[in-house]
Assembly symmetry: C2
């Protein structure tokens, strides 16, 4: 396996060791408070009986799976609680590929770099299908790319890095393409709490046995380090996922499961709405500055990233470093997300210093 | 993949749903208190800044790796902190197999059932090499079994289920066999804190670039549900393990890493010695009763299991269930650990009711 570490690390390290002050808009790490009940959940767990410190069921704490099942309107037996959405995607992809329905994986371009990495880990071949200029997907392109070798179509909505939210009709069509070539559609919905359109619908609502949905609490509860995610699989794939989960990880760590369970039960809608409002404000501040700097950009419909294109300043690693050194703002080079956005830079809205970053960009490019 | 769930689950479920009171000696779940500092570590973490709730480095918290490195006298860059020893074994096996040095894995018989499961997951073939009657290993048997197809030799010491502690000389010879056929030796030392001989030495002391050591805190800190383990790999294999770890899990959950770090720093030797003394006492109580019941048994040199053979009562699943129903004691059937101990039953010393269990066995078999 010759997979390289995602370039995130490289850019973050470069930014951290710069000689000047840099506003870090590279990582996907929320900078806001987790739900208060999450902290309470950890405190409560710290005083639990020793038997609560032992193996939970391999597929996750029963109460947590039932809480999720009730919210998602699915059978708890279809849920596997995983070490973050990352493991959920790995299990979902492996389960789809283990069906021996082919070794090709259709991904989008731009693409979240972990997806081609996982594809290679699983000895499959990735084909990138271009997203449209506005970030939306045209299912016809997937139909054209799909063949009997296609085992899996994997998309992320709301999308990192484009900020697009795919319509229910798009997702239904992608599921239909999967059906036509005997493949599985995996929808990574980890940004499901960050939909600014009010129109996002989970692919679970398609109620299709061709669809796996993966998600987690890393972003919605601002706890990327906790590693609690889950996959909802159709019945015919759930055993394969549970078996692999058991053999790789035995089970997901229990203290974060317990904390997430309490936070799920006790956190009201206001917490999530406040974070969404803050992110919308940050996006507006930032894109106003991009207007002033004469840049092209995408206003996110979901997730928390802004893609920006500065004339004569393509999204190379070299330019990302130049912007750190000369502009004092760190973003991800678009070239690290496939080829479709190699003219662009991605900025994550995970810093209270968005206004400052925006001013610096206006100064530098304006 | 047609791997079946380990039979642990089956027996535990059967015992839990029995009509009568049953002393559960099936699981490997410690029933004693974790170190007090572990609970303090969780409490402290619950109040941490939001940025401490985000992704730790993929290979583990820097401070934790340095604490481990100092204790084990290895370079921190050789350490990957994993989701328990289970993931450490998975990464170690995959790293050894990815060298393309063959697709055969040598395991012991009796064998911990997850090892053949992981072997199958990794598309390799397991060959079981019999342990001696007393549980020790004869390296000559491994030399005979090894060939150019052998990529990996995996042993567990102190051993589950035999209670054997392999001598340093045995481990050195196994490393030599690995060297001869261009393979890797993996030593799973998760029971390293439960050595009753005082002579156990980690395979790290062999200082061989053919050796990977895996271990974790599940047993030593009585926290099987926390999922904090690690692998120490030779330099030429560490990148492969880190890459797979990142692609499968991104990173190990942070709250348990923080708690383990504090417990490592603040727990004195007395904690571990007290647990060892308690286990020795339980072993003595239990084997005295086995004497009275006329059974053959192994007194563990390490780990916390006793293997017992009752005349005319082989270690089948059927008999394990019969003993639950008729004797009120739940143990694991030896047949689930390969073929070498299919006459035996395994009893885990993880209950304060060992004396009661012993009395019940004396009544039933005596």
């Amino acid at each position: 396996m010759h997979y390289e570490r995602p370039q995130f690390f490289h850019v973050m390290q470069y930014a951290a060791s710069a000689d000047r002050d840099v506003v870090d808009m590279v990582s996907g790490n929320p900078d806001w408070e987790p739900p208060a009940a999450l902290r309470d959940g950890l405190r409560e767990y710290a005083d639990a009986d020793p038997d609560e410190f032992q193996y939970p069921p391999s597929e996750g704490l029963r109460d947590l799976r039932e809480e999720i099942a009730a919210r998602r309107n699915v059978d708890p037996d279809r849920i596997v609680v995983t070490n973050g959405t990352g493991e959920a995607n790995y299990l979902a992809m492996a389960a789809a590929l283990d069906r021996d329905a082919g070794s090709e994986v259709l991904l989008t371009d731009p693409v979240y770099p972990y997806y081609p990495g996982k594809t290679e880990l699983l000895d499959a071949d990735a084909t990138l299908v271009p997203a449209e200029r506005d970030g939306s997907l045209d299912p016809a392109r997937f139909r054209e790319a799909a063949s009997e070798e296609t085992s899996l179509i994997l998309v992320n909505t709301p999308n990192n890095p484009t900020g697009a939210v795919y319509s229910r009709e798009t997702m239904r069509e992608l599921a239909a393409v999967a059906e036509e070539v005997d493949a599985t559609l995996v929808a990574d919905e980890v940004y499901d709490h960050f939909d600014f359109t009010g129109e996002f619908e989970s692919a679970l609502t398609l109620d299709s046995d061709r669809v796996i949905v993966t998600t987690g609490y890393s972003k919605s509860m601002a706890i990327t380090g906790f590693r609690v995610g889950y996959a909802v699989l159709p019945e015919h794939l759930v055993d394969a996922a549970k078996t692999r989960h058991m053999l790789v990880n035995v089970t997901t760590s229990r203290p974060p499961q317990a904390a997430v369970l309490r936070a799920l039960r006790e956190t009201d809608a206001e917490y999530y709405a406040d974070v969404r409002a803050m992110l919308r404000e940050r996006a507006a501040t930032f894109t106003d500055a991009l207007d002033a700097a004469g840049a092209e950009y995408t206003s996110p419909d979901g997730a928390f990233y802004v893609l920006a294109r500065f004339e004569g300043f393509p999204g190379t690693m070299e330019n990302a470093k130049r912007l750190i050194d000369e502009g004092g703002v760190a973003g991800m080079p678009g070239e690290t997300f496939g080829s479709a956005r190699d003219e662009w830079l991605r900025f994550a809205l995970v810093t209270p210093r968005v206004e400052e970053a925006a001013a610096r960009l206006t100064d530098y490019f304006g």
